[in-house]
Amino acid sequence: MAKRKPKSKAAVKSRPARKSKPELKSKAKSKAKPEAATASPAADPKAAEVKTPEAKPAKPATISAVEMGARQREISVSEFFTKNRHLLGFDNPRKALLTCVKEAVDNALDAAEEAGILPDVLVNVEVAATNGAPPPSPSQATRFRITITDNGPGIVRQQIPPIFAKLLYGSKFHRLRMSRGQQGIGISAAGMYAQLTTGKPVQITSRTGARAAAHYFEVQIDTKKNEPRIFENKKIDWEHERGTQVAMEIDGRYQKGRASVDEFLEQVAIANPHVRLVYRTPESETKEYARTIEELPPQPKEIKPHPYGIEFGVLLRMLHDTKSHWLSGFLASEFSRVSSAVAQEICATAKLSPNAKPRNIHGADAEALYKAIQSTKIMAPPSNSISPIGEKAILHGLYQQIKGDFYTAVTRSPAVYRGNPFIIEAGLAFGKGPEQTAQTLEAPEVPLAEGEQQDDDNELARVIRYANRVPLLYQQSACAAYKSVLETSWRNYGVAQSRGALPAGPMVVFVHMASVWVPFTSESKEAIADYDEIRKEMRLALQECGRRLGVFLRKRERAKSEFRRRNIFELYIEEVVEACARLKGGKLAKEKLRSQLQKIALKRTGGAKTDEILGHESGPEGLPHSIIVTPEGPEGEAPVSPRADPSKGGPPEEAAPTKETTKAAKRKTKRKKR
């Protein structure tokens, strides 16, 4: 672009001017804001060019640096995200509905767990009321009202407006502790989306205890200032003695299936068996996911950053902000796993005095310090900052929500990427469950025509991914979890898999990453980034699951094939006897031949031994952390039946017995029989 000819100069100059005008107009129109903040950085470099001495002002569209300067101003985060809402997961109405539910549920669970309360969450999604007109059917509706009620600790009155109506406000960003939310954007972004699409404020009711009053708020964000605007603030009577309720009305679409609200909540239930979740769908169905584990996962501890995971810029900031007076003290107190001895060693390597003032270290010294940290041997960060779901809980979650014949779960020991500790967990549910297997057996037997096959079942496995117990529903193929399922060679474990594809079969693969900082590929937290250390741990966990599945499948296959062997001999003997009789023109003692052949068959197939194998088709097989379900009921670490406890202060309506609960009840009685 930088041509010397004056003519082209003029052309270049005129362009920014022409460009900025319509932009200005559209801004003014759409949001009644004087100017697009984004326009100024775009214009910036051009402005510099204008200032160059040999520039001859072209008449129609010159703007002086002063004029431009007048337009240059700060951009508020809220304004930025109103424009870039796709970054936060509000790209389309269907995803927006999911994101709103997800953010609210994440917050509810985080709060309850941190307060040491077993979470009880009620999610209610309904078609928003229309003025007089009959409400459209859920699949046609474009406007929904979402209400999420929890039994968490509640929120103190003065914090309610900023939490729900100020972006980047929260408790989780500044500490290194495992939690679902990380940035403090989610719920306020959901509120902002509501305000953007329906203009309705977010309604919050919260109560911190039986003796405190419940507060009701209606808030919106002032997008220019990123400050809450309070519309309503009053004390009300609330039937719950403790908890928070958020309600908002948004533009959305309700569609079942992949990446739907239904799928999300089902997956939440799998990874959080300590949560009781009641979901009222827009179709007015009630789904209850019962609590199967009556204890909270251990509280993750907050940790200091590990020196390996720190970036240079962060180190500079920390050096500047620290309260320590000496470098060695700074290192030992601000980082985890840095003892004073290690601090001394780092200082020596960096050729800096341990007594230097942290604030005075910059430039080359800081760089030397950074390099010294990287080259010093430092213990891996403590892993008590993360709390895995646990093998038992995963098993219970899978067992409750997914029908199958075999379940297993693996929790790896902690590992580290870029100084952040993490734990990978994997689980597996295989099969269609004894009920359905029985059903297919009972299906009427139709003779097969040429080209037809007994089992035309080619479904691929389903991968469910989690980061800090939150299901990830979008961008599957970009996710390290998905990739590691692909790269595991399932064929070794008796499961079909074509090249570069998911394993085939009735199978659900569960992958969870728990970490103080989950590396997502984007802001909207949809896929886990592909670090070698993470991939490796995932692969190892999946391989262990695969091995156990392999043992189960092989054993089952053996019993089956013995059975089949016996079976086919019996079938074929019948055919052979009949054919022989015809060949002999009917002159044959059929009974005699048949019994003779059957005797030989019995001898050949191991006789009584086979019966034994058939009788004990499967057992726990000495497999750790696995459940095997047979028509007689589950074996292994099957969960104790969910205890129905309506006593605790939970969401108001006790759900009528639904599909899920009756199924659980059935299982319960089965277990009793055994």
Partner: protein
Amino acid sequence: MAKASAKKPTAVEKKLVGVADTVILAADRSRDPALSIPVRSLANINFNEKRGIIEMGKRKQERTLFNVGMAKKFMQTVLVADALAELQRANLTTSLREIYYRTKHTMQDSNENTFDGQNESDPLIEDLEVTLTALREELHVRAENAGSIVGPVVLTDDGDRVDCARLGKGGYSVPSIVEPEFIQIKRCTADFVLLVEKGTQWNRLSEDKFWRRYNCVLLTGNGQPPRGVRRLARRLHEEHGLPVYVLVDNDPWGYYIYSVVKQGSINLAFESERMAIPKAKFIGLSSADPETYGLPRNVGIKLNDKDVDRAKELINYRWFQKKEWQEEIKRMLATGLKYELDALANKDFRYLTKTYLPKKLKERDWLD
């Protein structure tokens, strides 16, 4: 069919009933019933250089009932034997496909079929042919009429006189069973037999009345010639002393067709005795022809991996060890191209009739 006629059982029928006897005898002695079936594969054939034909070796394979891998096949073999015996008693002939349908049913108390496809029953018939040393015709199984003949030959078929010189362009469709009991060669004034691989080229020659001009019999098998065509060529060769020339595409499959006509096939090695024509000659298309006849390179087709593999197999067959044949195959591999007979049309529609064959015959340019 259980009510068999009072007729005396034929020799073949007795052999078939023998299958049932094997089972009964084994059951009586509490043994696993077994049929020993000669192996029909490359490993169990010998090339008799003196006679110039492929002969079947002595290796046999036990097929037993109480072996999971073989049980179904054993059961199927007995079923096929039963169906074949039924044909004998009723004195009917039938096709392979009908045998398949006749023996197919769902087994008692299961949804498993005795046969899932014809590809399961066909090889069993061949197995029984070898095991019982009965020819397919004797088993009353016929293949489809998949060949044509035209030329100065007079045949008798079911008492009808068939003059193959008066059957227009279409000729006479060669039945699958051409044994002297069914077809007699009444008269033959031809000088040689030309066996063409492709029906299209046979049509060309027939339309151009090539046979009249060069006084020959034109035969085609539409690809790999079926038994009827091979047997008829052999009878013309044997009974009337006609030399046989084979005209095939220039590709590994063409070479193999020629070798089947000449020495017999690997799969049906036991049939070479009565079908092979060890004196048959390979007239074309040779890999040297494109150069000799100036066929442009662009009418060739690139050899694919399968072609190359097949050619490499052929090169190792004992009956392709002659120096000219090694050169022939290696030349094809070296150019990396195959040529169809049809490619001759590139020069002229009647190039095959007018130029190619006359020149070949005149120069006696063929491979043995």
